[in-house]
């Protein structure tokens, strides 16, 4: 096996000293906000938009857009980490905490996992324990403006402590379940949990 050819004077990406400690392994910091998607941008109107919490809950609940806007909103400033290796610091969002949403439902004690599903068909999964207690929110504003469609607007899930593929864009609902169901990327090679600080990018099951 011959040695890999190295391109003269090609540096790739370098992290500056100040930001090193905020970068999980294998990441580099960016200042723009890359657009990544598995498909075309869904064009759901405010009129047609619904957000549903269902599955192992005593009674499912659905919010229309105007109703969702009535819910108490907070500002969240978080670092985000994409498995494709970019990280963005201090991203500023406004949205509704998952804890606020869950005040409106009674979770069945068997509900240990969640599947987040989106307009356009995307899905991702996580344990309920990682969704609650201030760890996740549904964002409708980014950087002081309504969340752009290409970044998941009208509303998206944000779970900053996990790789950003878990932060489902164009969120349509959360389904609470007893058993874990691997989502779009988790079912094709990506790590089921996805902790950037543990470099949990790929599944070892494959």
């Amino acid at each position: 096996m011959s040695e890999q050819f190295v391109s003269r004077k090609f540096q790739g990406r370098r992290a500056s000293a100040e930001t090193q400690h905020r970068l999980p392994p294998g990441q580099h910091a960016v200042t723009d906000f890359p657009v990544l998607s598995a498909g075309l941008t869904p064009q759901v109107t405010q009129n047609d938009w619904r957000l549903t919490i269902e599955g192992l809950v005593q009674e499912p609940i659905t919010w229309r857009w105007e109703e969702f806007l009535q819910l108490p909103r907070q500002e969240f400033v978080v670092d985000i980490h994409c498995v494709t290796s970019w990280s963005k610091f201090d991203t500023r969002w406004r949205g509704v905490s998952i804890d606020t949403l869950l005040e409106q439902v009674t979770l069945d004690p068997r509900a240990r996992y969640v599947t987040a599903y989106s307009y356009g068909g995307y899905t991702t999964n996580l344990p309920v324990a990682e969704l609650i207690n201030g760890q996740a929110f549904v964002a409708c504003e980014y950087d002081g403006k309504p969340l752009p469609r290409e970044h998941g607007g009208l509303a998206r899930l944000v779970v900053p402590h996990l790789y950003f593929w878990k932060s489902a864009k164009w969120l349509r609902g959360l389904r609470f379940m007893e058993s874990d169901q691997r989502g779009f990327w988790e079912s094709l090679g990506y790590h089921n949990h996805g902790d950037p600080w543990k470099d949990e990018r790929y599944s070892s099951d494959y």
């Binding site: 890999q4 050819f5 190295v6 391109s7 004077k9 090609f10 790739g12």
Partner: protein, 247 residues
């Protein structure tokens, strides 16, 4: 083509500045395989720490030119590979690549015509390989090139194209300038639209083979518009280059 495509190290033979943001790199390839017009090579850069970046670039040169290829590359400010090619590479440097690749977006004279080539910006590159191949084969297949660019300074291969269209009666080049036309310009000065496509199709004898290449937005509009005016989808081949470079 049953072919095991391997990465190999090519050498930069020459670099030509085509426009302010576009360069053509002539590369000598150790294991040169004759390509077909429309094909591309994948170019890969590797940093000392193992980090790799890879992009595809269309072959600009005709298959008849053996042993070496031309890759014409537009420098994208936020690109990963094109700034390296433009800013660092000098003749004598080595570059890792594999190819030739592609079997769908290809044309050669045996496929016949007439030929309608629609290019947006750097989308001209694979279509230029088709034009150069046609010329090298001394073919007189009626060929019309509709080339959409922002300004006259953005036209790649300007002199060659004007020379070719002068020399060859059945080869026309039609420009449309979307931001600024040359002084006293009486041709098209707008984005490709239905009326323009109808006019361009008008004097082409029979059902042309159509190749569209350029930024995704342009390809989508051109292909959808052609389908909308009843052009058979089977006669259209497309290659999308992603977003336009520069603003």
């Amino acid at each position: 083509m049953k072919q095991s495509i391997q990465w190999q190290i090519a050498e930069v033979k020459a670099i030509k500045q085509e426009t302010l943001t576009v360069k053509t790199f002539t590369l000598t390839i150790p294991v040169w395989v004759q390509h077909r017009a429309g094909q591309h090579y994948d170019v890969r850069l590797t940093a000392p720490d193992g980090y790799q970046a890879q992009r595809s670039y269309s072959i600009a040169s005709e298959p008849e030119r053996t042993g070496e290829i031309d890759l014409t590359v537009e420098r994208l400010d936020d690109g990963e590979v094109s700034p390296y090619l433009h800013d660092v590479l000098v003749p004598g440097d080595q570059i890792e690549l594999r190819g030739p690749l592609g079997g769908y977006f290809v044309w050669d004279t045996t496929l016949g015509g007439p030929l309608l080539l629609i290019a947006g910006g750097s989308g001209i590159v694979p279509l230029m390989a088709m034009v150069r191949h046609r010329v090298a084969q001394r073919s007189d297949i009626p060929t019309r090139l509709l080339y959409s660019v922002r300004t006259p300074e953005d036209v790649i291969y300007a002199k060659e194209l004007s020379g070719l269209s002068e020399q060859h009666t059945r080869l026309d080049v039609i420009y449309t300038f979307t931001r600024q036309a040359p002084p006293n310009w009486r041709g098209y000065a707008r984005r490709i639209d239905e009326m323009m496509l109808r006019e361009v199709l008008q004097s082409l004898e029979s059902k042309p083979r159509i190749y569209i290449c350029g930024p995704t937005a342009l390809v989508e509009v051109a292909a959808n518009t052609l389908a909308g005016i009843g052009i058979d989808a089977e006669s259209i081949r497309t290659e999308r280059f992603g977003p336009t470079g520069g603003r």
